[in-house]
């Protein structure tokens, strides 16, 4: 039996839902609000980092979304989400590594600096600090503190944008060689990247790939893919869209200026 602890808007949960759909696996869903329930001691026994997703398969607990992607492919090999050649497999792993080591934090920085910031600013400083300091991953709490305080003026934003640009340039490069990031078929690289491109779009930063038609084409294709439609877009309710509607101020002019200055 498969159980998935997740949240609709969590980028890491989205990639795992896409992969499970691609493998035609049904899961028992455990939805978290991430408004404190991730810090419950019972959940932290499964996931000591207090993050989603967590996959439980026949009693075995698997954490870390990129490792869950590899796990799903190994436990349910058909259809494969890893390419056949070692070089293409290495490419998939490089995407996952870029995301784990840089992109994921960069995405948190951009999201908290824009969409999530207003709801924190409604609280007192002590209140929101207490909230973000509950996270066991201390460096991430430090990023959040900085961007809640300074928005897009935070010192971390420039590097976060550079990481997004790096991802887009990798994609543009790889998409010259095939319709998907690691070649001819949709793979774990595409599963992993989709949520980050979606997030940029939700933050009204889609113009970041306007100079890369191959990336725009890929996105137009994969967003129509049944797995992406069913597990990401069709799952978003009004409340999931809400933080990204009426972003104020519109982040693009400031981001455009930062990109020009870099």
């Amino acid at each position: 039996m498969l159980e998935l602890y997740h949240n609709i808007n969590s980028v890491c949960a989205q990639k795992v839902r896409i992969a499970l759909y691609e493998k035609d696996q049904q899961v028992k869903e455990r939805l978290l609000t991430l408004q404190g329930d991730q810090n419950d001691p019972a959940y932290m026994k499964l996931n000591p980092n207090a993050v989603v997703p967590t996959l439980v398969h026949d009693g075995n607990v698997i954490i870390e979304s990129s490792l869950i992607l590899y796990y799903i492919d190994e436990a349910f090999p058909d259809p494969p989400l890893m390419p056949k050649t070692p070089v293409a497999r290495h490419r998939v792993r490089l995407y996952n590594k870029l995301i784990d080591e840089y992109m994921h934090n960069a995405c948190t920085i951009m999201t908290f600096a824009t969409a999530f910031r207003p709801s924190f600013l409604k609280m007192s400083r002590e209140q929101w600090l207490a909230e973000i300091n509950k996270a066991p991953l201390k460096r991430r709490a430090e990023y959040k503190r900085s961007v809640i305080e300074h928005g897009l003026d935070s010192e971390f934003v420039i590097d976060a944008l550079a990481q997004h640009q790096k991802l887009i340039s990798w994609m543009a490069d790889d998409l010259k060689r095939g319709p998907y990031l690691a070649g001819e078929s949709f793979s774990n690289a595409d599963c992993a990247v989709v949520p980050y491109i979606l997030r940029l779009e939700l933050l009204k930063l889609g113009a970041m790939w306007q100079a890369e038609p191959a990336v725009a084409d890929w996105w137009a294709r994969v967003r129509q893919r049944p797995s992406v439609k069913a597990t990401v877009f069709d799952r978003m309710k009004e409340s999931d869209w809400a933080p990204f509607k009426n972003l104020s101020p519109d982040p693009w002019p400031k981001v455009q200026a930062l990109l020009k200055a870099a």
């Binding site: 398969h57 075995n60 698997i62 954490i63 870390e64 990129s66 490792l67 869950i68 590899y70 796990y71 190994e74 436990a75 070692p86 070089v87 497999r89 290495h90 792993r93 490089l94 590594k97 784990d100 080591e101 590097d159």
Partner: protein, 264 residues
């Protein structure tokens, strides 16, 4: 054909040596002098855009990131395998390497740098040193290096690094302690399990599969840092399983000093 770009004392390169030796593969090495900024030469950056070692060239393809090089080698040269058989055990193995890539590696770098490489940096000309700092693309990494250069062991990053190792050792203890060779049910079983384990590695017949729960990369890191921190780490004096791992690490042929320096 396998060619490896290496550097003296590079812990990430050592992981790859370990994997190559365990698999009995032949390779050629090309030495990169990190203190002469050779890693930032344009032709090397084409192969390895981060400007770090190691880089493996396999049949003309550049394979980068030591953890991924070890996975690549295991898939292309599967015998003997250094990766566990089941999907679940593999995910556990990858947690160790992830832990190292996303925390322990930094801790290792900061501790090693403050203790070993700082003096070498001091001996550089100001221009060389500035070049070294400037060439580090990742601003976080640059800030940590400048801090450990300026403050040595007093840098906050060194302190955080030591905490990271204490935590790692505790997690290793938790993972190792339940293994059969320590905790077989009754005292005589336990004794038998221990002595058969001891015999295996003193005879030199330890199978590569004994490395697989950690993956060779994690094993190499842990071993080196056990050696480095052994006199001071609290958890080491408390923990018999870590001491066994330390012994294992010292006695394994692929981990002897020559091997770790890439001498065949």
């Amino acid at each position: 054909m396998l060619k490896l770009f290496t550097a003296h004392n590079s812990i990430c390169t050592q992981k790859v040596f370990l994997t190559l030796i365990e698999k009995d593969l032949a390779w050629t090495s090309e030495y990169i002098d990190l203190f002469k900024n050779e890693q930032y030469r344009p032709e090397y950056l084409k192969l390895n855009p981060k400007g770090v070692v190691p880089t493996l060239i396999h049949d003309g393809h550049a394979v980068i990131e030591s953890t991924l090089i070890c996975e690549h080698l295991d898939q292309t040269f599967p015998d003997p395998s250094l990766v566990p058989a089941s999907a679940y055990e593999r995910s556990q193995m990858r947690r160790w390497s992830k832990h190292i890539d996303e925390g322990v590696f930094e801790a290792t770098r900061e501790i090693s740098f403050s203790a070993m490489f700082r003096d070498k940096m001091k001996a550089m000309t100001q221009e060389q040193r500035d070049g070294r700092f400037r060439n580090i693309g990742d601003p976080g990494r640059r800030a940590r290096m400048i801090s450990t250069y300026e403050q040595g062991c007093d840098s906050l990053f060194v302190e955080q690094g030591i905490f990271a190792f204490e935590k790692l050792f505790q997690e290793m203890e938790d993972a190792l302690a339940p293994r059969a060779w320590y905790s077989a049910g009754n005292p005589s079983d336990r004794c038998r399990a221990r002595s058969s384990f001891a015999r295996r590695f003193t005879d030199g017949h330890m199978p590569a599969s004994d490395l697989t729960p950690f993956g060779s990369g994690a094993f190499c890191f842990c071993g080196r840092m056990l050696a480095f921190l052994r006199p001071s780490a609290k958890s080491l004096t408390r923990s018999s399983s870590l001491n066994v791992l330390w012994y294992l690490w010292r006695t394994r042929e692929s981990l002897c000093v020559d091997s770790l320096n890439g001498i065949k």
